[in-house]
Symmetry: C2
Subunit: 180 residues, 2 copies
Amino acid sequence: MTDTTRPKGATSPRPPAPPPAAANVDEGQGEAPDTLSLGPLPGYLGYKLRQAQAASFRHIDRMAGESDLSPGRFSLLTVIGANPGVTQTRIARAFGLDKSTLSPVIDQLVKGRLVARKRSKTDGRAYGLSLTAAGRRSLDAKRAQIEAQEKVMAATLSPREHAGMMEILDRIVAALDVAR
Amino acid sequence: MTDTTRPKGATSPRPPAPPPAAANVDEGQGEAPDTLSLGPLPGYLGYKLRQAQAASFRHIDRMAGESDLSPGRFSLLTVIGANPGVTQTRIARAFGLDKSTLSPVIDQLVKGRLVARKRSKTDGRAYGLSLTAAGRRSLDAKRAQIEAQEKVMAATLSPREHAGMMEILDRIVAALDVAR
DNA sequence: TATTGTTATACTCTATAACTATA
DNA sequence: TATAGTTATAGAGTATAACAATA
């Protein structure tokens, strides 16, 4: 999810470089030396959604310093911060993830002292999760980066377009999760 | 990239289940039994982009049969199909990937007999890639699924909204790849 | 020396299955 | 029996570094 304390010495795997715009050409006759066709790909909304999502991660990564939170860990810390005492299972359900997915990540966050894990008084199986002071600081720092990115995106959109995107994206999610 | 022939007996890792809509609630006072706050997440365009992208993959996966192409391998086969004789390096550049990323994937595609790899006559280092008949069939089958998904998305959008999305998504990618 | 491609290694994100401990 | 969490294993997708072969 969020990558707390990226292993100090680790070579953090960087996202791919932005694909050259040239490749975005829609099919076509321009068989120039190093331009290749992406076929029908640029006509698919799903493809563009993927491109935009990838560009977002790439951009966040470029803003990030060493041992910074990954987008996934950021969202995990955000939810823990907004729901002190929450359990792993509840978080997994909220994100639609399997509980086993969270175990190792939360373990890293706990080892990195960003998250505190306390056994529940009322249920000996469950843990209550909360942010440590360091976790809160990491989260705040990352949120500033995220919100800077939001400003970059908002700056290229009119307020109407921005609101429209938010709404349409929800509609797309709803349609796809129902379909089939 | 694309996942050609998913290892026959392999338990293809399924995408996460759709998160319950309840989790979408924006902060709030409603501290109901199992509703947890996502904090500021639902207000971020980047977060919604990620959700929509994930919903798209999830939906494709639900349509897919056994040993079907992953979205990544689909795009890879698409580009090979549209540019017979293309080299790995050129594809990597077009997608903004490192060349080392493609080696294992293409190797699988070749082993799965979906892609043919021939040493270039003019450059002994390079391979020319092309689709086999089976590769073409897999690609066509997958494309039908992809286009079915495109119809599902298009059905929830007005033509203007659809066109707007395509254009705005491009604008977001351009803005993010320049920023910082 | 530069380029094409491979291999080893690593990291994120995700899943299923099997298991422990607690309810 | 059901639930919370862990561990082992697996797979997609991506990277860097080091290397071989060819240019």
